[in-house]
């Protein structure tokens, strides 16, 4: 599904990503872990076209996506949920969700897709006509994830979805994510600071350090290897 090979990104003289290679598969969650500044957000921004890479390639279903504009990558079915302030605060909850459906959902089915999102996140339905700026942190996170799902994506790129959420809400979120990614359906790349909860749902984990992939393994390996955890994840 997603194939990343030798991806390098520079910000001036700084190497933000250095020769990063990995894959994301349908129905699987690949988590990207690492400390602040390790390059996790840069990786997602490069995959969705917001940042230009300087070497290497990323392809989605055999089509090269590096070098494409963000809107054209989104149209292929790659939905990037940016960190933090991804809601459009000036629009209502309903408008935010409808905005997700414009590209990959046929005109007649858009309402039904938005209603599906309300089924999944009933709190959003109660506030559908309110400005998105009135939502709590947890509700905002539901809204941006709901909006990404309204795009009918094939691959989700999630940047720190647990940021600012309570442990209970984080657990619910991870359970939802797991439920969405099954079989040969939706795949996900999950960037997380909260390694523990990300590893609890992921199928594959890579650890970035100073822009390089230093570990790529099954989550079980992290559970088994305390040194590895302490060294790279700090717990």
């Amino acid at each position: 599904m997603l194939h990343v090979e030798g991806l390098s990104v520079r910000y001036g003289p700084v190497r933000a990503l250095d020769d990063v290679s990995f894959e994301a598969r349908p129905g699987k969650i690949t988590t990207v872990l690492g400390a602040n500044g390790a390059g996790k957000t840069t990786l997602l921004r490069t995959l969705s076209g917001l940042v230009r890479n300087h070497r290497g390639t990323a392809s989605f279903d055999g089509q090269r996506i590096t070098g494409r504009a963000p809107e054209s990558i989104a149209r292929l079915g790659v939905s990037h949920v940016p960190e933090g302030r991804g809601v459009i605060a000036e629009l209502t909850v309903d408008e935010n969700l409808r905005l997700g459906t414009f590209v990959r959902v046929r005109r007649g089915e858009r309402r039904a897709v938005v209603d599906e999102i309300y089924e999944r996140f009933p709190q959003l339905r109660d506030k559908r006509h309110r400005s998105a700026s009135t939502l709590s942190g947890g509700e905002r996170q539901m809204l941006v994830i709901g909006r990404a799902l309204a795009c009918r994506p094939r691959l989700l790129l999630l940047d720190e979805p647990s940021l600012g959420l309570s442990p209970i809400v984080t657990a619910q979120l991870m359970a939802t994510l797991r439920e969405l990614t099954t079989g040969d359906g939706l795949g996900a790349v999950l960037v997380e600071q909260n390694a523990r909860s990300a590893l609890s749902v992921a199928d594959w984990a890579i650890v970035l350090n100073l822009g390089r992939v230093v570990v790529a393994d099954r989550p079980a390996r992290f559970a088994a290897d305390a040194d590895l955890r302490r060294h790279y994840l700090g717990f």
Partner: protein
């Protein structure tokens, strides 16, 4: 009393023109975050296109529609060729470009059509209507002018509020990056915003031309008034532009009627200063969301 009513009525008619200019300024400011100083000059240029057509025997309405279409094309072309390449540069750069465009358009218009003042025909009679037994300072043409601008404002409000295209345009203006991640072709929508804004500017140009001495510079003063209206209305909402236009128009008419027409531009600048000092977000804006 009759004088007061006449002043008020002429203020309303003028104010509607200011509103059309303010609406165009607001559309551009909202989409691409800059003030288009060429807004008036672009309207001037397309009105001269209508003037050329009229002098070749084309009917008023075909020429009117052609000028609006030319405005849309000119707006789109300016956005694509002059404004888009400056994306990501300091906001002052495109603003300076629009000032340059203003000078170029006026120069080119002068060399094609000459720097002389002429008359421009009105669609309807410009003689005041007779109400009861008195003739008021409001003509059939003024009625048309008010209706045209109200239709424009209602159409823009409807576009933004009730259509998928309008929702995308708002999203692109508020949050271009998130919109692009959702597959919205933000660049095209900015082009469209410029096209709409300059079509609105063309409308203003066509409506003002019969009321003033028609030369390559006739829109300069209207841009100042339109800018005052836009700032007063908060630059963000079409309804704000309408109210800002009316308030500015009536204020200018009162100054012209009771103090003297020479003081009108100064009064407009004083109003502009006052608004910027007392309520910089305008009557309809919210503090903190303005980026001019």
């Amino acid at each position: 009393m009759a004088l007061f009513v006449d002043i008020l009525l002429s203020g309303v008619a003028q104010g509607m023109v200011f509103a059309a200019i303010a609406l165009g300024l607001g559309l551009v400011s909202r989409a691409t975050g800059i003030v288009n100083f060429a807004q008036g000059a672009m309207g001037m240029f397309t009105t001269f296109i209508a003037f050329s057509l009229l002098s070749r025997g084309v009917g008023y309405w075909p020429a009117f529609v052609a000028a609006l279409a030319a405005g849309a094309v000119l707006g789109a072309a300016v956005e694509r060729t002059l404004i888009r390449p400056l994306q990501g540069k300091p906001a002052l750069n495109p603003v300076i470009v629009t000032i340059g465009l203003l000078v170029v358009l006026e120069g080119v218009a002068g060399s094609i059509w000459g720097n002389v003042a002429r008359g421009f025909p009105a669609a309807f009679s410009q003689r005041g209507l007779v109400i009861g037994r008195t003739r008021v300072a409001f003509s059939h043409f003024d009625v048309f002018l008010v209706c045209a601008v109200v239709v424009l404002v209602v159409a823009i409000v409807a576009l933004f509020r009730w259509t998928a295209l309008g929702l995308r345009m708002r999203a692109a203006a508020f949050s271009p990056e998130v919109s692009r991640l959702l597959g919205v072709r933000v660049g095209r929508l900015f082009t469209l915003a410029w096209a709409l804004a300059c079509a609105a500017g063309s409308l203003a140009g066509l409506l003002v031309a019969p009321l003033s001495s028609f030369s390559p510079y006739y829109m300069d003063l209207y841009l100042v008034y339109g800018f005052t209206a836009a700032v007063l209305g908060g630059l963000l909402s079409p309804v704000g532009a309408l109210v800002g236009g009316l308030v500015t128009g009536i204020a200018i008419a009162l100054v012209g009627g009771y103090v003297g027409p020479d003081l009108q531009p100064i009064a407009a600048l004083a109003m502009l200063l006052l608004v910027l000092m007392v309520r910089p977000q305008g009557l309809f804006g919210t503090a903190g969301v303005r980026r001019v």
